[in-house]
Symmetry: D2
Subunit: 148 residues, 4 copies
């Protein structure tokens, strides 16, 4: 797998943060959060990061026929989250290209890192399912973020 991980010294202090509570629906018979469900939490984090930039995916799909699709990811699971845990999802853009964005994301419970990963998301035309350029306002907002 081509490395999508950037250097380990991500600037987490600039990360977007989104709280997530663990409910029964997220857990499994092992008593912990089911491993695939952390990806749901991370998708919520990316969605809320977009929303904080005033970008609605529903809107993008309806007005511009553009959807984001995950093309690649890696995950490291370090500890287990459990029912009732209050987690924090941290989201950081590590690279933004013409038609894709790389994110680093962490799932924290207070100061413990529960899991972390890197996700590459491509921008796709919904009718052809082919890569298409990120909408201008998304690129603008991201570049603004990164020159701050």
């Amino acid at each position: 797998m081509p490395a999508i991980t950037s250097s380990p010294d991500h600037h987490w202090q600039h990360a977007h943060q989104w709280p997530v509570r663990v409910y029964y629906e997220d857990t499994d018979a092992g008593g912990v959060v089911f491993y695939a469900n952390y990806l749901k939490f991370m998708e919520r984090g990316r969605t809320e990061w977009l929303r904080a930039l005033r970008i609605s995916q529903q809107n993008l799909a309806l007005t511009q026929g553009i959807v984001f699709v995950v093309s690649q990811l890696d995950m490291q699971y370090k500890m287990s989250a459990r029912l009732d845990d209050a987690l924090m999802i941290e989201t950081l853009v590590t690279y933004a290209g013409r038609a894709s964005i790389n994110f680093a994301q962490r799932i924290l419970r207070e100061h413990d890192i529960i899991a972390q990963g890197n996700i590459r998301v491509g921008c796709v035309d919904v009718s052809s399912m082919r890569p298409t350029a990120l909408p201008f306002n998304v690129r603008d907002q991201i570049s603004t973020l990164h020159t701050r």
Copy 2:
């Protein structure tokens, strides 16, 4: 809630049967199948009943702009299913109208009834989200079923 339950003496011996295995994804921290996930199993049962009638929901949506939506249901949970359980989903049409179908469904583990319920499904035009008549072939197939 208007009663959608028909008489208790359903002809279960004529029910469509579909086996379902319980995986970690289906369970929760209580060690049993999460209550909402039985509705996934039942949707699989209804889908496979349709497929047995040579009806593909993907096809209906793409070629006729028709989707099925659940408008009403009731459920009784009697026992708990657990990881690795081999379940059987039983599906029976109890009523078929112009634009809706009522199903009775049971979830069995060998001779034990784990859960059972009644589900009313409406036929909807995907662009207007308004009720529309069931496709002819669906109605034909159902009436054939019931005169057997």
Copy 3:
């Protein structure tokens, strides 16, 4: 199904409220929230109602070996929720017995009722999976609620 619905004039103005956002994970290829996922939202509502009473299900399970299990429910689906929708889950106790609680719940999008249902939850000893009395503090809190 034995009726668990109480009179239609529920005192919704006293309902516990919990906001829920619709993410991709909640939707299906029909473009709307998958019918079983509303039950996840409602379980979140009941859990947060309990938490507001300072009751943690994780705690109850670990210290008293007590879990809540759904024994019965009915649902009416009136409209479809979609990606990015901001929903409100309303939760009301309609009856509290020795070993069970009945809830009425509604899912709203602003003033529209998306879905509503009635859920009976039993209190179960986790080792025997048999009904057991609600913990005293839960019963106390509920009776306090209802005499207010």
Copy 4:
């Protein structure tokens, strides 16, 4: 992330195969399978691989207090699976250590690779949540597999 990928020339002709059907529950409003749900399919594949070795995870947990937990994974998403698709999950052990197993897995639709990934699973004592040696019969079965 430490590489868990072995050489690209995996012996897929020896892979364990498990068919999976795509239902509404698996899809999202983008019209395709939600990216986290492929991990559910892959967990089913690993579970059925174990079952084919006559190993039940429910049994391992109850009798030996041993559970498998995913510690690391990477995924590449190449195409989108859709409602009604008949997929094949291919599962291959690429490395077996004292307390962990590495898998390579692919999700196919006929001859198309929908997604593929590498998953490292650790063997954990359920009371301490610490790494513990794989059960003897699991190690035996795996080594038998690999000397065939």
